[in-house]
């Protein structure tokens, strides 16, 4: 029987620690603020911290595994994630299209969630800051906030995903996009990850 009502219960899933955070804390010179009253969250690490951590991990891994000395994420290898898109560490993707762009959830996120049963989309016209929770996706067991990869204004939402949430599991990078945004600040695009950077992050979070 499943127990887990209050977040103070040490036996609930809320207390799953995050190996990626811990490995970054180990490798990163900066300490990470891990307290969050309402949700466990991959804390706001700068991309520099992330890259330093990945570099440290990769050089450790190459020594141990005796493979090429080049850090893993700098090598050119085919990624599972579409190259033409940009990514966020909280598992959203973003496709810049001039002044606008389209966002969605990555296949990794959707696979981890399981069968999506409900999608709550924002209202057209609503404005969000970069990293702000913009919509919610729910599976049988959990609901998860989706964060805006860039700050902007909602210009369109994908109502077909709202009507048939299970579509999100099938084509998260294409037909099951979530929101189209008018980009408020193009500088935000610089902080987004490439497909190979994101793949490195995903690979590391599995270890």
């Amino acid at each position: 029987m499943w127990i887990g009502r209050s977040s103070s219960d040490p036996h609930t899933l809320d207390h799953i620690s995050t190996p990626f955070i811990n490995s970054v804390v180990r490798y990163s010179p900066h300490s990470v603020n891990r307290s969050s009253p309402y949700r466990l969250k991959l804390q706001e690490l700068s991309i520099k911290d992330t890259r330093m951590a990945l570099r440290a991990f990769a050089s450790h891994a190459t020594t141990v595994l005796r493979i090429s000395a080049r850090p893993v994420f700098l090598r050119h290898f085919s990624t599972k994630f579409p190259e033409g898109l940009k990514y966020v560490k909280s598992h959203e993707w973003f496709k810049p299209e001039g002044d606008q762009g389209t966002m969605g959830l990555t296949s990794f996120a959707v696979d981890e969630l399981g069968d999506v049963v409900f999608v709550e989309l924002p209202e057209v016209g609503a404005k969000y800051e970069q990293g702000e929770s913009i919509c919610t996706v729910e599976s049988v067991k959990a609901s998860s906030a989706v964060y805006a990869p860039v700050g902007g204004e909602v210009i369109e939402v994908n109502s077909s995903v709202k009507e048939s949430p299970e579509k999100l599991n099938k084509d998260p990078f294409g037909e099951s996009w979530l929101v189209k945004l008018k980009v408020a600040n193009h500088d935000h695009l610089k902080s987004l990850l490439s497909a190979s950077d994101y793949e490195g992050l995903v690979e590391q979070s599995k270890h």
Binding site: L13, S17, R39, F118, S144, A145
Partner: protein
Amino acid sequence: MRKAATHLSKSALRSLASQHVTFNLSVLSSGFAASRRGYADEASLKKTPLYDYHVENGGKMVPFAGWSMPLQYKDSIMDSTTNCRENGSLFDVSHMCGLSLKGKDSIAFLEKLVVGDITALAPGTGSLSVFTNEKGGIIDDTVITKVKDHHIYLVVNAGCRDKDLAHIESHLKPFQASGKDVKWHIHDERSLLALQGPLAPTVLQHFVKEDLSKMYFSDFKMIDINGYPCFLTRTGYTGEDGFEISVPAENALDLTKAIMEKGEGKIRLTGLGARDSLRLEAGLCLYGNDLEQHITPIEAGLAWTISKRRRAEGGFLGADVIQKQIQDGPARRRVGLIASGAPPRGHCEILDLSEKVIGEVTSGGFSPCLKKNIAMGYVSSGNHKNGTKLKVSVRGRISDAVITKMPFVPSKYHKPAEGA
């Protein structure tokens, strides 16, 4: 128009804090990698004899009540749930705690602590019951089986193990000191497996000599299964026909492999995620969510566990509170809900049609079999009748709900034919 977390209502924020709701996806993914972490807290989690087997079979291990248990395997929770009802599931529930009370005063002892009529229980049968506290609140729910008059076998929740055993021991010691004959034994030498679904009896029959068709819901046998001395109960937590098998721990893995082989791919290893969906569809309570220290069995809709004799005589902790509630009716009652919109989860507020708060959801989610949102919660008496239209507030948004009779999915317990 911004929907930042700080602008959500207090109840919505509480919802966010509770276990079932709002994970950041990074947490979800790293939670599933928990089995490969090398940290002290993971090393301190207890492992069942099937731990390695779960991992080999794609089990996503999560911490649960101090144990490392499989949340799910390669199947999605949706597929696992529907497969249980169409074919069958095998669950490792070895984290749960089995214990025996033996001695001629064991019934008298247990009746001080539980509401059940253990005296009236026929040997070789069991029933759901609850341990109560002085206020009539529920300490834990349990399946109690009378093996014979001087031997009672109980199974309690993993998360309540320490609490329950301390509670039992605190009453056992003075009872024994007064010269009574009762001893207890905690079955840590055994592991518990649950085999549920329409194919369960056919598959299990391969391993036992006795005719299982004559074993009905709630029956108990001490029986050899695949040559191992087991305790077998025809019961479960899914609403399907099925069995709970207490097998010696050193045989648990072999029995699991034997069952899975005979299951020919139709019986699938099933984790805690699907177990929770199945029990919710079956309208079964989960301690820690739907049952708690401050909730009485009358409020929880479990008055049926208290026989006429026990209602009249009392003799269990909190009997006076419970007797009064039986007489006057409780102030709140557990109900089932079907809701539109986002699935209501624990702590979501239940509102009447004028949007006044009249209760709270204690368990909720999307039903893989019904393809609807189902939930359980408590509402103030007067609002509890089936068919009552209500509203629920999920993360600040209000959607429609209707009180629905449980189980949401009809149960399929193996009972004797009418008139048999």
